[in-house]
Amino acid sequence: MLSDPAVALTVLVLSLFVGIEIIAKVPPLLHTPLMSGSNAISGITIVGALIAVTAENPTISTAFGFAAVVFAMINVVGGFLVTNRMLAMFRPKRDDK
């Protein structure tokens, strides 16, 4: 997709800065959901897992790919769901009901 590793490195450094800028603004109130949510994002490795599991000749690398798909999906689904569950509990002051 991109041939030059220097470009990927540039992207890496810039996104680290973006990440630090955004995340430093998250209040301590939400640090646990931040952690589980960002954890789910690290499940992006599912992309690699899906590529690996579909390698042409089924070898041990397909087995690796399969295991990677399972673990990455645990990470993605578990992470986003549990974050959603937590965030649903954070509600503002009850003044109406």
Binding site: L16, S36, G48, A52, T54, I60, G78, A88
Partner: protein, 462 residues
């Protein structure tokens, strides 16, 4: 079509960034999470479409199995066990990245095709970081769930052993990176990475687990990032580094809150830091005043403001709902009641907030340390529930104390301090707490839940 693929990955990265940004406010956080999840869906669908999948069965089986396990765990887990859950999620993210890197390497070996230097280096990093993340997270999980003792596990010569392993790892990394198709060193690297995860986490005490989880969170992102270089996929690089950055920041916040350097947390147990524990415990401390819930109710009847300081002891006793009941009652009696949350209250960053939110405490009532400390002197009652070290005034004044310099909640400056505690046992750090002996401190001995319920009754009837 193929030119659309990078655009789609970029779109998912943008959704992640915007989603994370929305996590900066409790109002938008849930939508932010949904947005990030949709970004993940975009990435997954794009990959499936572009691959022209060969073996649908396998993909489907893996996706269904992983999703089912993840969903089951996410819906069943108790909020008190969130640190364990996040530890396991970190572990699965890390191992998934390492497995992808391994699969790639085996694919290259299969085709007898030499990967470029960048790719083989990235394979090494992904394997190493992913492996450490997996076993490190498992050990953290075992310690957090108390299936393994929380004390640091040390043995003579530990530093030497770790140093030798460290050198061995560097040599192995070099071997694999320069001659990736020789699979022997690669398998040894896998084994050593797994071993290293164990060895790095066992000497870290249970109280320091918030730092460890934050760090492993960062590792799981960095492993994904390295995998991005293996696959030459910018989407992975962006997302991985976002997570890496997030983990780094949380690690720093946790270390600052304990006034310790990361090095000290990670390697402190190897040195002689442990000795401080006994020092404060023995000496004369003055007398402790034990009181009952009824005595406390008398004080509350004259109070106008109260700050509740919850610690992990409250969560262990499952007292959150009783505490919320007490807070509601105090508010009804016209006493302004808020919660002071220390950054390391609980077992992971922000854990206490989640526990109280679960008990239906509105989040406006949860105030962080820096914002509430100046208000203690004007507060009538500070109620400390199962917290100890984070309210220990010797952190402010006693240079000899092992926790000296740690930022604390200044409860001792309130007019009256109630401390609900099981016994006089010193806390996790093994440090005696002069707060308990202060003139204005009333100790109420008992378990947090029973005592809070007794307080509710006493205050209601008074």
């Amino acid at each position: 079509m193929s030119s659309l693929v990078p655009i789609a990955y970029l779109a998912s990265a943008v959704l992640f960034i915007v989603g994370l940004k929305m996590l900066s406010s409790a109002k938008t956080a849930a939508r932010g999470n949904a947005l990030a999840a949709s970004g993940m869906a975009v990435a997954i669908v794009t990959t499936l479409l572009r691959q022209g999948i060969m073996s649908w069965e396998l993909v489907l089986a893996g996706v269904v199995l992983g999703s089912a396990i993840g969903a089951f765990a996410a819906l069943r887990v108790q909020m008190t066990s969130m640190p364990e859950m996040v530890a396991l999620l970190n572990g699965s993210g890390g191992v998934a990245s390492a497995l992808v890197a391994g699969a790639e390497l085996l694919g290259y070996a299969d085709r007898a095709q030499e990967p470029t230097g960048v790719v083989s280096t990235a394979i090494v990093l992904s394997t190493l970081i992913g492996g450490i993340t997996l076993t490190g997270s498992l050990i953290a999980f075992l310690k957090l769930s108390e299936r393994m003792p929380g004390q640091p596990i040390t043995y003579p010569g530990q530093q030497v052993v770790n140093a030798l392993i460290g050198i061995g790892v560097l040599v192995l990394c070099f071997l694999v990176a320069t001659a990736p198709l020789e699979l022997g060193p690669f398998w040894i690297l896998v084994g050593v990475a797994l071993l290293l995860g164990v060895l790095l986490v066992i000497p870290i005490g249970g109280a320091d687990m918030p730092v460890v989880i934050s760090l492993l969170n960062s590792y799981s992102g960095l492993a994904a990032c390295a995998t991005g270089f293996v696959l030459n996929n910018v989407g992975l690089v962006i997302s991985g580094s976002l997570v890496g950055a997030s983990g780094i920041i949380l690690t720093k916040i946790m270390c600052d809150a304990m006034n310790r350097s990361l090095m000290n947390v990670l390697f402190g147990a190897f040195g002689a830091v442990q000795e401080g524990g006994g020092a404060g415990a023995g000496g004369e401390q003055g007398t402790v005043r034990g009181y009952t819930a009824d005595d406390a109710a008398v004080i509350f009847s004259n109070a106008r403001s109260c700050i509740i300081v919850p610690g992990y002891g409250m969560a262990v006793a499952q007292a959150q709902h009783a505490v919320r009941e007490l807070a509601d009652l105090l508010e009804q009696k016209g006493i302004t009641t808020r919660f002071a949350i220390h950054p390391v209250a609980g077992r992971m960053p922000g854990h206490m907030n989640v526990l109280l939110a679960e008990a239906d405490v509105p989040y406006e009532k949860l105030v962080e340390m820096d914002h509430i400390n100046s208000e203690f002197p004007e507060t009538d009652v500070a109620l400390v529930l199962g917290a100890n070290d984070v309210v220990n005034p010797s952190a402010r004044s006693d240079k000899g104390s092992p926790i000296y310099g740690m930022p604390i909640l200044d409860v001792d400056r309130a007019q009256h301090v109630f401390v609900v505690k099981r016994s006089m046992n010193p806390g996790f750090a093994g440090v005696q707490n002069p707060l308990f002996f202060n003139e204005n401190t009333m100790m109420i001995f008992g378990d947090a839940k029973g005592t809070v319920l007794a307080l509710v009754d006493a205050v209601r009837e008074y």
